[in-house]
Amino acid sequence: MSNAVSALNSASFEGFATVTETGLRGMITLRGDLSSAKLKAAVKAATGAAIPDVRRVTTGKDGMAAWMSPDELLILCDYASVNDTIATLTAKLTGEHALAVNVSDARAVFRIAGDGAREVLAKLAPVDLSAGAFQAGDFRRSRIAQVAAAFWLNDDNSFELVCFRSVAQYVFDVLKVSAQPGGEVGFL
């Protein structure tokens, strides 16, 4: 895997919040019946994480699970272990109608950190990002300016954001515009 590079090679920008492309990440689209015991066991076995509630992320020792839709999770893990994780999922889901597919290279991940992180996102996403409305562990699919994206809030008050790899530069650019010094809003 020595040839593998992430979309923006861990580019970073320091504004009134810090925006960083986080490098390669293992990501798996898992579609199936989220209420089934088998799927629950598979996700547990693969990541250690429980099935997340609607619009939440859960964390286990080997990865995270994010609620994408009523029949879809996004599984996050180390880039290097993604094939093993898929193998575990697939093995545990034998006989069940489900789909687990590697999308690690189809996406880019950004971290937005710092006191202004909420406001940087709130300039681009039609989402209530106030502290009362969006809390650690909350996960939201929406748009960032003109492209689809998903993001969640970590316990350390930083956001992580996933978008398609082809628009990584666009997303980075609009996040940079949002985080420009002097652009603090003072609302969130």
Binding site: V54, R55, E72, P126, R141, S142
Partner: protein, 109 residues
Amino acid sequence: MLTLQCPYCGVDAEETELHAEGEAHLKRFGPGSSDDDFETYLFMRENPKGVHFERWRHSNGCGKFFHAARSTTTLEVFGTYSAQTYEPPQDIKDKITAKYPGWSWREFA
């Protein structure tokens, strides 16, 4: 600028997260159907001044299609519901009836 609640992920999604997908509860006519039925399926539209049952997709969101009952004159939303239904749920129909006694829409009222 509409806001509709996605019945799948519970988000009060503003229109920019959504995509309008036209009239709901159309019955598909395939090979073997009459010309009239096929034309009705593809082109003839209720287009009411009043409550409209329509399809939306939470395209910048959970990706699911859903149905909405919405007034085209006041933009009041009587409810959103699963796309996997043949007609609107009773509670939504009741809500519409309370507001517009005697309304009807194609095969249901």
